[in-house]
């Protein structure tokens, strides 16, 4: 489903990824382990389009996506639930979930017109942008009016599913997101990601700042999402124990390199992983 090859990415002069390669087979859960600053989050950011790769390739369902922007990638069927949850903390729970479904309503157009734009002169680009802005607005409006009922049904179905996974969110749907507890916020972040009805979910440190019991609950739901809905999951986690428990495959990142890779069982048995990440 996802193939990453020789991915190099940097923040200005600081190189975060020195050629990362990994595979995520359809229907699996893949864990990326590693210490702070190993490049786990940067890997996810590069895949979802938040961090533009310097070189290397990223293929999602056979299509190159490394030149696309984050807002285009999400409409291809990939949701990134970022580190620190990044909720819209002043909006309500329901509004956050609505925004999660945004990409299904106003689908960003593919890379086609962007490639066309590259070939234009400065003035041509300006004209192109203005026409895009105007026609894009009209297109969005037309789409909003067309098939309104269909999208409303899709939205209600998605919402029901999220509320099935996280009943507490249904109780708090009119509450301001910033006032939720840490665990509830993580649930909302996952629920918001699911509203885009993704086939691949990128999950960054779901356990961050949460009590062990809450973390366990969330990991169980993640496993359910994978099993019941067949959503493929790429999860980044510092808690290696827990991650390897639910994952099928794992990668260990060390300062921007893949140091180890294998099935979860093999990684759990590996001496290096036990010593460095499992605390055994």
């Amino acid at each position: 489903m996802l193939q990453v090859r020789d991915l190099v990415a940097a923040y200005g002069p600081i190189v975060a990824l020195h050629g990362v390669s990994l595979d995520v087979p359809a229907g699996s859960i893949v864990a990326v382990l590693g210490a702070n600053g190993a490049g786990k989050s940067s890997t996810l950011r590069a895949i979802s389009g938040l961090l533009r790769p310097k070189s290397g390739s990223i293929k999602f369902e056979g299509q190159r996506i490394d030149h696309l922007s984050a807002e285009q990638i999400v409409s291809l069927g990939m949701s990134h639930i970022p580190e620190g949850r990044q909720l819209f903390s002043e909006l309500t729970v329901l509004e956050n979930l609505r925004l999660g479904a945004y990409s299904r309503f106003a689908q960003a157009d593919g890379g086609g017109h962007l490639a066309h734009r590259q070939g234009l002169s400065l003035l041509g680009r300006l004209q192109h942008d203005l026409i895009q802005a105007a026609t894009g607005g009209i297109r969005d409006l037309a789409r909003t009016i067309r098939g309104y009922r269909q999208r409303k049904q899709d939205f209600e179905a998605g919402l029901k599913q999220v509320f099935d996974y996280f009943p507490i969110l249904a109780q708090r749907k009119n509450q301001i997101a910033g006032t939720l507890s840490g665990g509830e916020q993580q649930m909302l972040a996952i629920g918001r990601g699911l509203m885009a009805s993704p086939r691949l979910l990128l999950l960054d440190e779901p356990s961050m700042g949460l009590a062990p019991l809450v973390t366990r609950e969330i990991f169980e739901i993640v496993q359910t999402i994978n099993r019941a809905q067949g959503v493929t999951i790429l999860v980044v986690e510092q808690n290696a124990n827990l991650a390897l428990e639910i994952a099928h495959y794992g990668y260990v990142l060390e300062t921007g390199y893949i140091a180890l890779a294998g099935t979860s069982e093999n990684l759990r048995k590996s001496e290096a992983v036990r010593r460095s990440y499992l605390g055994q």
Partner: protein, 304 residues
């Protein structure tokens, strides 16, 4: 008593105009934290455009036309002038808007000249026997109110309600609120943040244009027309809380009324009309000492 109510209604009317321009300022500020110094001059420019259109056209043809021109101008400024400096420190961008202020001011003087021009109030319309807009005055019991003051109030309330509905109940409005709060997360939702900023500028310029059209009949159309109004608008926005559209409007109304009452009721030897701006700003300083984020501002705590 009649004079008191007259001052209050008059204050509400001018306060609405301050509030509208403050609203325009806030619409840009809360999505970009840029204080648009050119907000007033943009409105002056569109009002001059309106004046030119009125030379051959009817008021109600001019009105939608000017709104479209304003929206286009706002979108164009964001795309062409603000977008390239987007990543720069906020102060740099504010200086750019200061540059726009000078350019627009000069363009107004150059194209339309510095001689003050009269600007018409909206012509009257009769709906079910009730007269809307136009000149004259209306007896509303405790006092007599000019029709133009009422017109301003009707427009201001209409725009505020429309904007509220837009932000609260449409997907685009929700996306714009999301962008203002968390641009990175918005991108992950599939929201094109750049386009939201363009729409924000277009909306802001449109609201500002209405403020210009409404105030011009009261203070004559000339290039520096909006300078004083912008000062009040900034004060209103700060008083209400720079990130709160409701605050901007309430701030505008408070300032409009205070200004009128201070001008009328304090003795000339002591304060009087000449000091009304000072007193108004003094009140703002006091409010900000008590509530540094303004009356409706929320950004008091920020998660790291």
């Amino acid at each position: 008593m009649s004079e008191f109510w007259q001052q209050v209604v008059g204050g509400l009317a001018t306060g609405s105009v301050y509030g509208l321009l403050a609203l325009a300022v806030v619409l840009i500020y809360r999505s970009t934290t840029v204080l648009n110094m050119a907000q007033g001059e943009m409105a002056t420019l569109t009002t001059f455009a309106a004046w030119s259109i009125l030379q051959w056209g009817d008021y109600w043809i001019m009105f939608p036309l000017v709104l479209i021109i304003a929206a286009g101008m706002g979108a164009f400024i964001e795309r062409v002038i603000i977008r390239p400096v987007e990543g720069a420190p906020v102060l740099n961008i504010i200086i750019v808007t200061l540059g726009l202020f000078a350019i627009f001011n000069n363009v107004s003087s150059w194209r339309w000249g510095g001689i003050p021009k009269g600007f018409p109030t909206p012509p009257e319309i009769h709906v079910m026997g009730i007269k809307f807009f136009g000149g004259g005055a209306l007896d509303i019991g405790p006092t007599v109110v000019s029709y133009h003051d009422l017109t301003i109030l009707v427009f201001a309330v209409g725009i505020m309600v429309a904007l509220y509905l837009f932000f609260q109940y449409t997907p685009l409005g929700l996306a714009m609120r999301a962008t203002a709060q968390n641009p990175v997360a918005s991108r992950l939702m599939g929201i094109r943040v750049g386009r939201m900023l363009t729409v924000g500028w277009a909306l802001s310029a449109t609201v500002g244009a209405v403020a210009g059209l409404l105030i011009a009949p009261l203070i004559l159309l000339q290039p520096p027309m909006m300078m004083g109004v912008l000062l009040y608008a900034f004060a209103a926005a700060v008083l209400g809380g720079l990130d709160s559209p409701v605050g901007a409007v309430v701030g505008g109304l408070i300032i409009g009324i205070t200004e009128n009452l201070v001008g009328t009721y304090t003795p000339k030897e002591w304060l009087g009309p000449d000091m009304k701006l000072t007193v108004t700003l003094l009140i703002i300083v006091v409010v900000l000492l008590v509530r540094p984020t303004g009356l409706f501002g929320r950004r008091t705590m920020r998660r790291v």
